[in-house]
Subunit: 193 residues, 2 copies
């Protein structure tokens, strides 16, 4: 399990055994059951997550309705905006499947970054990369229709279609469950002819 994390880190910086041990001794590995809520609206948390195995989702509750805005699966990292802005969380994070992840808090990271400048660099590179990736996702979302978005998702994250309930996928695509259902039927009709 730890190797997944170290493999990930090695994409950015190379760690000595000593540094690896330092990480392990932080005791950040957690195993959580499907359905567990990691973060609730209104909470002031300092925790960031990195998914080793499983799937977690972020969602808002607006007018009593859940609006899912993100899924994080294997090898994906998440620091909630509320942790950065030091304000109460506006959304929920919960586990769609039994999940293994690391939980690290902001204070811990400040200390680690201070001790190992290498870490500071890794965090910078990771943030820059995620920022660029998300920028592209956002642009793609803006410039395409719900149907195109769905077809896109099939290409880019086919696993999500399998492992996530459709009504959550729908709000992830910015539409209602009924519309996703209809849209899928429409695509199926087209593919037949």
């Amino acid at each position: 399990m730890k190797n997944i994390l170290f493999d990930f880190i090695s994409k950015y910086v190379s760690l000595t055994e000593e540094e690896k041990n330092a990480i392990v001794s932080l005791d950040i590995f957690r195993s959580v059951k499907k359905g567990t809520t990691l973060l609730k609206e209104g909470q002031r948390s300092k925790d960031s997550y990195f998914v080793l195995k499983g799937c977690i989702r972020a969602y808002y509750v607006l007018d009593g309705e859940e609006k899912t805005t993100a899924f994080y699966t294997e090898m994906e990292a998440l620091t909630p905006p509320s942790v950065i802005s030091k304000t109460p969380s506006e959304y929920y994070i919960s586990c769609i499947e039994d999940t293994i992840l690391t939980v690290s808090n902001a204070d811990m990271e400040i200390e680690t970054n201070h001790k190992f400048p290498k870490f500071e660099m890794m965090c910078r590179m990771l943030s820059e990369e995620l920022l660029a990736k998300q920028r592209m996702d956002f642009d793609e979302f803006k410039t395409s229709s719900p149907e195109q978005r769905y077809l896109n998702l099939i290409q880019k994250r086919p696993d999500l279609i399998q492992r996530v309930p459709q009504h959550q996928l729908a709000s992830y695509l910015g539409i209602k469950p009924q519309s996703l259902s209809r849209l899928r039927a429409r695509i199926f009709e087209k593919s037949k002819s």
Copy 2:
């Protein structure tokens, strides 16, 4: 002009006179005329921008149509995704107004970050902050209708409504210019009654 940049930096780290001089000596300040294109599709650029005065926009050309996805105004920074991913740019960046900005390239930043660890930290903090901010913008976009998005824009960036042509605003909101026009008329009708 330089003070705008230093004021911005001071939100993250405090600089010594020596460090300020090091920045000035990099000769990164540029003044560009309205209409200038800073980056074209297909180009391999290493440049990042920080707007001191004016406005620049990022847009794709899809099926011969411009799709505007972002505006950057005073005190906003932009590193195109293509600079991070080291691939040819997928979009254009050009100036909507006469603009004063800083242009820094990736190699230069690596050197500066190496010389001043303070910079590395600032870049990390800035990226994290932008990532969080953009995450929230994306979520808001996903969870609202074109009309809500427009009303939102009036609240959050009223200046854009004034300084940007409507057809560019429309694609920024993910709709066609005609729809924005209609939507505005609809809002106006509602406000009367």
